[in-house]
């Protein structure tokens, strides 16, 4: 629980979250969501929540991102906002 590391990763998480909802390309949105998920997993590992970090790494950064990419493949990739 080193507070400098915590603060740095939290700032990166907020930046990634704002970027994930602002890009105009849905594939980029899905990949940024995967990066956000990885940073969350890192934060929980720092807080000694190892089971939750393991689950988020496999579910959020693994399978969830693949579901998003599959759905973007079947619909459209461009968006207006």
């Amino acid at each position: 629980m080193i507070w400098q590391l915590d603060l740095a990763i939290l700032t990166l998480i907020i930046v990634t979250a704002i970027a994930a909802i602002s890009v105009k390309d849905l594939l980029g949105c899905a990949i940024l969501f995967g990066a956000y998920s990885f940073l969350m997993c890192l934060l929980w590992a720092i807080m000694a929540a190892v089971d939750v970090a393991f689950t988020e790494a496999s579910v959020g950064a693994g399978v969830s991102t693949v579901f998003f990419v599959a759905a973007v493949f079947r619909t459209t990739r461009r968006t207006r906002d």
Partner: protein, 274 residues
């Protein structure tokens, strides 16, 4: 809509920020979340269940009902995706075939050539070339990924892990096969009927262990009574009961992840995709 959104977000944010003044400071060991039930779990988990990983012990034994209904929720999500997306009756549509000897691509409208024909191979409509390096490396990697996933499920008593994590990694190994090769290759390996059956078998194992505990004379999911069936003492019976339900959870989670991916990537038709 954006101004309404900003106003709502500001109001909700201010309300929540005002509420933080009652929170205990971060990391205090006497905060209300850590003083009522959880010290009892930490002190008694090792001597009552012989499982050092307290999170697994609480998840599968002390709060076993929650995990059973969570497995049911995952199963319902798999069934929901199946019902929403799956289309069965397919009108004769356009297909693309490639003659292997001369590498001519045919566009066949309406008819079809059987999939196992030795002169023609079927390629997807949005065809991306399947690379030989990617195919070979992923084919070699898949058994090792599955071995690691089985290790995660079985070692959940002593290290971080357990049923969910191992099940997701098992599902990811078959999804890797579907991405690197063809979706038809992955469906040949694990057919849709077997996948749907596995979804139900996992929930059945979990509830079945609970029902066996009732048949042996105690309450639902009370693993101590399993000592009559397994011929060990009460504490080890609880440890084995936890392992049994973790297996059930792992099977269901694997099958649901594969099923949701197949339905999403092919929009229900299960023959082409990504």
């Amino acid at each position: 809509m954006k101004t309404v959104g900003i106003i709502i977000v500001f109001l909700a944010g201010t309300l929540l920020l005002y509420a933080t003044q009652d929170f205990p400071p971060w990391g205090a060991p006497d905060s209300p979340a850590s003083t009522h039930v959880s010290p009892r779990y930490l002190q008694r988990a090792m001597e009552e269940t012989a499982v050092p990983n307290v999170v697994t012990a609480v998840l599968a034994d002390y709060r076993g009902f929650d995990t059973m209904f969570e497995t049911t929720v995952i199963f319902c999500a798999g069934i929901g995706c199946f019902i929403l997306l799956r289309v069965f009756r397919q009108r004769p549509e356009d297909r693309y075939y490639r003659h292997i000897a001369t590498e001519i691509t045919l566009h066949v409208k309406g008819g079809r050539i059987p999939n196992k024909s030795s002169e023609f191979e079927r390629i997807d409509a949005l065809w991306t070339p399947y690379d030989l390096i990617i195919k070979t490396v992923c084919r070699i990697l898949v058994p090792f990924i599955q071995l690691f996933a089985l290790y995660v499920i079985a070692h959940g008593h002593h290290s971080p892990g357990g049923g969910f994590q191992g099940g997701v990694i098992l599902g990811a190994s078959v999804i890797l096969l579907a991405i690197s090769h063809n979706m038809r290759t992955a469906i040949d390996r694990l057919s849709e009927k077997a996948d749907n059956l596995l979804m139900a078998i996992g929930v059945f194992i979990y509830t079945g262990i609970g029902a066996v505990c009732i048949l042996l004379g105690a309450g639902f999911l009370d693993y101590r009574t399993l000592s009559a069936v397994l011929f060990v003492d009460d504490i080890m019976a609880r440890s084995h009961g936890i392992f049994g339900v973790e297996i059930g959870v792992g099977i269901t989670v694997m099958a649901v992840m594969i099923s949701i991916y197949n339905n999403l990537a092919s929009a229900g038709k299960q023959d082409e995709g990504l």
